[in-house]
């Protein structure tokens, strides 16, 4: 199914429960405010895109959802659970892909996936079936017995993605999930995310590839300097940016106040 029609396939009214709820969340690193008074709800089965320039607080927000960063103020609820009070329970239901795939490089690909499956308690028969299928789908067959330190960045990303999908999570938190992937694998992941959405799995992804966000996400949040600048589907964002027929790139640049780039390029050309 082409991704351009995804937005219209699932009506928003089908979402009955919030998968994620952030209330007045702030995260400070000494004087730096990474996330400032963020309020956000994401519904079950939604694909939500979190966009923003570098350093806008996207990764910090994603990490707070999983308890990898503790908020300075506010509360974070994931799948009906308080992240700070029930961290292990939350983690059991979530699949996470970090921006930089730092993984145990001394393990082979198959050993790493085996480790992840055991950690999440995937039964042995299912483990075998799922790992074999994922390796085949993402074309890692033949290299699964090699140590990860010999893998390319793309292969490491594939292993990280498989490890996020392996235990059939209810919520996927993906930080730049398609970075470094070859076009075929990127397409498979996109289709797979869509299929998961149809099964009620919620996905929150951060990306700088605006075409992907536009094609794949039901709603998009644009963060800037730690705050949620805009939130909504494409039509709502167009309205907010007063750009009725524009694509996400133009909307993003307008909303973040960085649209006048011609002067910058001209300066560089001098």
């Amino acid at each position: 199914m082409p991704f351009s029609i995804c937005n219209s396939v699932v009506s928003f009214s089908m979402y009955t429960q919030f998968a994620v709820e952030l209330k007045d969340v702030t995260k400070r690193y000494n004087e730096i405010v990474a996330v400032n008074n963020l309020n956000l709800t994401i519904s079950t089965g939604e694909i939500f895109g979190l966009l923003g320039p570098n350093g806008s607080g996207k990764s910090t927000t994603l990490k707070m959802l999983l308890g990898l960063v503790q908020p300075t103020a506010g509360s974070v609820n994931v799948l009906g659970l308080d992240v700070q009070k029930q961290p292990v329970e939350v983690k059991r239901l979530v699949g996470y892909v970090p921006e930089s795939p730092n993984i145990y490089e001394f393990l082979t690909g198959i050993e790493y996936l085996d480790f992840i499956a055991d950690i999440y308690g995937v039964p042995t028969a299912e483990k075998k079936q799922r790992i074999t299928e994922y390796l085949k789908a993402l074309q890692l067959e033949g290299r699964e017995g090699d140590m990860i330190n010999s893998y390319s960045d793309g292969m490491k990303k594939k292993i990280t993605l498989i490890s996020a999908f392996l235990h059939k999570p209810k919520l996927l938190i993906l930080d730049e999930p398609l970075n470094a992937l070859d076009p075929r694998s990127a397409r498979i992941v996109k289709e797979f995310l869509y299929e998961l959405k149809m099964q009620g799995v919620t996905t929150i992804m951060s990306t700088h590839v605006l075409e992907i966000a536009q094609a794949l996400c039901d709603r998009i949040g644009i963060m800037y300097q730690g705050q949620l600048l805009a939130l909504g589907n494409m039509d709502e964002l167009r309205q907010k940016a007063s750009l009725p027929r524009s694509g996400l790139e133009d909307i993003f640049l307008r909303l973040t106040g960085t649209e006048d780039l011609r002067a910058v390029v001209e300066e560089l050309m001098k």
């Binding site: 996470y96 393990l107 082979t108 198959i110 992840i116």
Partner: protein, 563 residues
């Protein structure tokens, strides 16, 4: 050659030393004077040493009471002559040691090959960079010392010549290290390729053997340095055909006024140094971009999960997975292979001493002290070292633990089991070797085994707490695993805990030693079994208390996880 490029590359290498020392990279402002403190300090120590030597010799030589003193200038020059060879040996040992340390580094600070830098510049910078730190410090210290001393004694020309020879010796040593470094990378790659799936074990055993041989040679050389110097002075002229001696021979001939021979060896030395440098350039050109092949551990094909023994021992899936992961890490990560060396050296050195390899005066028969050492130290140290690094060894991949449904109990149980399992294996190995070599009585073997096991339990629990408190997950340049201050604290606390566990045995041990010269005192008057039981109780108490502390620390670590 563009020397500016060489200088820039060296500066990158020097600054990367901050990462090795764990200096925070953010907001780091370098003070030009402080950045070079080891070198200024070495030079100042050299100057002070030169002044002190001059002061002492002037007092000695102005005293008429000491008849027939050898000529001061002759004695000084005989010292100058051996200095280049000493600097060469020291530089070679330290530059090689530095390369061994760097071999475990994850993100290398090697020259960026895509920059417009020639191989000649890269090699020259690499040779100089090898010398950064102690080798340059020693050259600077010695040079400033001999120059200051010579100013007062009219030997300034000879001192300047010696200083040049010292610089050449250091360069020569570093060039050899550079050649060995490049060859080692290519050789290791070839071994991996030919070993196939056994490559990981070849690497493990090869690295272990290399470290052990190197450290034994290093200990042997440093413990016998005085006799080494004496032999060197006498043997230099007889060994004229060895290029490493040529720098010393130049000095020797010129000082004796044999200029023709001196100039001949200057030419030969220059050719040799240039040859080493061009060989290093050639090897870098050929193998500098060589990437060792991937290590394949399993065959490709249909994946079949294995059912583990750990589950049958009562470990949950999560705990068993962490234990298996750590086990694989410890046989595959070069930076942690070093942890196996301390126990092995602790077994080998007493054995060598007891069979008279390193010292002729050492006892060659059964010795209760050696028996105790060989049982206690390797396993005790293993428990301490493992516990201290087992949390920090997760490194940058620690997010995987944070993001996974791992409870504090899971984490502590799996890590503590790993520490005690490995240490107990070391105890069994070292105990068997000790029993075979020293033939202790059955009672001594049982007591030594039990006491060491109790020490392992207690020290393992404590060192794991230290590991939690001082965990260092940074991997910039090399995995640090534990912060230095916590490592030191760990040594002290573990030593105290070990002493506390062994304390109930003290009356028995004292009585055993003193019974031969104190009539009426007998070791048998102390009930050994009760002492061992008390030791066990102390050990279990310490273990239980620190196990609970560890759960709290793990909870803290997982709750405050900041990736």
């Amino acid at each position: 050659m563009n020397w500016k490029n060489v200088l820039f590359l060296m500066q990158v290498e020097r600054k990367s030393g901050r990462l090795l020392r764990g200096i925070k990279a953010t907001k780091y402002r370098e003070n030009a004077f402080l950045a070079y403190w080891p070198y200024w300090t070495a030079a100042i120590i050299g100057v002070l040493g030169g002044l002190l030597a001059n002061y002492i010799t002037s007092i000695v030589y102005s005293t008429a009471a000491i008849p027939s003193l050898p000529s001061l200038s002759n004695e000084t020059l005989s010292v100058f002559v051996v200095l280049p060879t000493i600097v060469l040996v020291i530089s070679l040992v330290f530059t090689l040691l530095q390369q061994i340390q760097l071999s475990g580094i994850k993100a290398t600070a090697q020259v960026m090959y895509w920059l417009p830098v020639t191989w000649q510049e890269h090699t020259m910078a690499s040779i100089f960079a090898n010398l950064l730190g102690l080798p340059i410090g020693i050259v600077l210290g010695l040079t400033s010392g001999i120059i200051v001393f010579s100013i007062f004694n009219g030997l300034i020309l000879q001192a300047l010549l010696t200083a040049l020879a010292l610089c050449a010796a250091a360069f020569m040593a570093s060039s050899i290290t550079e050649i060995l470094r490049v060859l080692q990378v290519r050789f290791v790659g070839a071994v991996y390729k030919s070993s196939g799936r056994a490559a990981i074990w070849v690497r493990f055993i090869g690295s272990l053997l290399f470290f052990i041989i190197f450290y034994i040679l290093y200990f042997y050389l440093t413990s016998g340095f005085t006799s080494f110097l004496q032999n060197l002075t006498q043997a230099q002229s007889a060994l004229w055909y060895i290029p490493f001696i040529w720098l010393a021979l130049i000095l020797s001939y010129i000082i004796k006024g044999l200029f023709l021979q001196g100039i001949l060896f200057v030419g030969l030395s220059a050719l040799f140094i240039a040859g080493l440098y061009y060989l290093a350039v050639l090897l870098n050109k050929r193998f500098g971009l060589y990437e060792p092949p991937a290590i394949t551990i399993q065959k490709s094909g249909v994946y079949t999960p294995k059912t583990g023994l750990l589950g049958k021992l009562g470990f949950s899936n999560v705990e068993a997975a962490i234990i298996r992961k750590d086990l694989r890490g410890f046989t595959r990560r070069r930076e942690v292979i070093g942890i196996f060396i301390a126990p092995i050296i602790m077994i080998i050195i007493p054995l060598m001493q007891s069979i008279g390899v390193t010292s002729g005066s050492a006892a060659s028969q059964a010795n209760p002290i050696f028996t105790g050492i060989i049982f206690l130290l390797p396993a005790g140290f293993m428990a301490m070292l493992l516990g201290e690094i087992l949390i920090g060894e997760e490194g940058q991949a620690v997010w995987r633990i944070y993001a996974s449904p791992v409870s504090p109990k899971n984490l502590v149980k799996s890590k503590y089991f790993f520490v005690t399992l490995f240490s107990t294996i070391i105890l069994l190995i070292s105990g068997t070797i000790g029993t075979v070599f020293y033939h202790p009585s059955a009672q001594d073997v049982i007591v030594a085994f039990l006491e060491t096991f109790f020490v392992v339990l207690a020290v393992g629990s404590i060192s794991l707490s230290i590991g939690f408190k001082g965990a260092d997950f940074s991997e910039t340049r090399r995995a640090r695993m534990i912060r230095q201050e916590w490592s030191l604290i760990g040594v002290i606390v573990c030593a105290v805990a070990g002493a506390a566990v062994l304390a109930p045995l003290v009356p028995y041990v004292i009585a055993s030693f003193a019974s031969s010269f104190i009539p009426g005192l007998s070791a048998s008057s102390f009930n050994l079994a009760i002492s061992v039981i008390i030791s066990g109780v102390i050990s279990l108490a310490i273990t239980a208390v620190f196990y609970r502390i560890n759960i709290g620390l793990a909870q803290d670590l997982l709750r405050k996880a900041e990736v």
